[in-house]
């Protein structure tokens, strides 16, 4: 039961952090920090893809309402949720995932987490900026935004991971 509450609290925190803090930061160079993919990434392994997409849709919906993006976050988060089991399956152990473990860098090792999260985040960011800019002629700009935002969001995710990890070890 505590697991569900933990994820609900995370849902609220991640939504508000993204909508009220990271969306208001204007760093320049096309960098747009995104932490909402980390929430989808950290949901438990046993959650199947349809409820996963439901959660992603809800979260994207709330972020969209707060930032006047009209479905941009919703669409990219649903795509991320759809791709998550596929990427997990590809990089998973042969006997399947241990249901007691969580998809964090602490439980699964930082190597596994880095590869899987980098792929998911990259695809998510690419879809996001592709939709946002929506011009094939500006493909270079889309790539620039994807790579820069992806890289910085990835570092931010690692940082937040170590933060969550530390708070767990203290208990």
């Amino acid at each position: 039961m505590t697991n569900i509450y933990k994820h609900i609290i995370r849902f609220v925190i991640f939504t508000f952090l993204q909508a009220l803090v990271f969306n208001q930061l204007n760093i320049g160079f096309g960098i747009h920090l995104m932490i909402q993919p980390l929430f989808i990434m950290l949901l438990p392994f046993e959650l199947t893809v349809i409820p996963l997409m439901g959660v992603a849709f809800l979260m994207g919906f709330f972020i969209d309402i707060f930032s006047n993006t009209f479905g941009l976050y919703t669409s990219s988060l649903v795509l991320l949720a759809y791709l998550r089991p596929i990427v997990f399956k590809f990089y998973g152990p042969r006997e399947g995932y241990d249901p007691l473990k969580e998809p964090t860098a602490h439980d699964m090792g930082s190597g596994w987490f880095s590869i899987v999260y980098a792929i998911l985040l990259g695809l998510h960011a690419f879809w996001f900026f592709l939709l946002e800019i929506f011009e094939i002629g500006r493909f270079g700009f889309i790539l620039q935004k994807t790579i820069l935002s992806g890289a910085f969001s990835f570092l931010l995710a690692l940082l937040m991971q170590s933060f969550i990890l530390n708070s767990k070890q203290k208990k």
Partner: protein, 279 residues
Amino acid sequence: MRNLIAFLQRFRIFLVFAVLQILALSWYVTYLSFPRNQFLTTNNDIAIQILEWEHDLTKHFNLSKNNTQLQWENIYWRKRQPKFMYQLSRNKFKIDDTLYQQQYTYIPAEVINSSVSRRNNYFTLNVGTAQGIKRGMGVFCHEGVVGVIHYASEHYSLVKTVLTEDINIDVNIHMKKSDLPGLLIWDGRDPRYGMITGINNDLRIKKWSKVETRGGSGIFPKGLPVGKVSYTEPIEGQALWKVEIRLAVDYRRLQRVYVIKNIHLAEQTALEARIPNED
């Protein structure tokens, strides 16, 4: 029938995915062109309350800078008030006030939510239809043009800023002999630079010549600053300049704005509706 059920079973995940994507994308595409449902933007009660709390926290960050700007603006207008001026030639002429009539009124507002890094950037203002805001009114700040009201609810409104794809404000490039009319657009790259389309390349454009609003559509008064020309380049195969301008307003730290109400707008549109259609 059994085949159909088997098919649905097999592709159930993809079908749910497709339905959710279509929902999100239709929301995205319809909203970019026409505002339909205000509850799906920051114009709803809960989101606006939370954004107001956030604004209460963050509005103090630029306070000293904003105060200085307001002070400078006060000085600027105070200098132009007749009663503060020294009258050089007395009793020689008097200002006939019936010659000048007020055409625009201004409604002060505060930006409570903004973004500048997206492809299309919208600001939320803390004024709405209760204060007389309507769709299509112009918004500016003391430095220059900000945008046009996109949607107004009772107490809040959404501004489609200069930093959107199809803002198309009619502007003039201020030249020595004549003004060059064009349309302001934004390429989504840098919130400090905008572009102007529709400038014929038969005239040379001086760098740093001023760009101002033309006032033709009745949204903005004539002569509001927009920016300065920073770069020109001929477009290949067309008799047009590609003009890049440095925008006058720093949209990244904008807080106080004014909404323009044109008293003569109804008259102008009623008159222009009489232009005979050629088809």
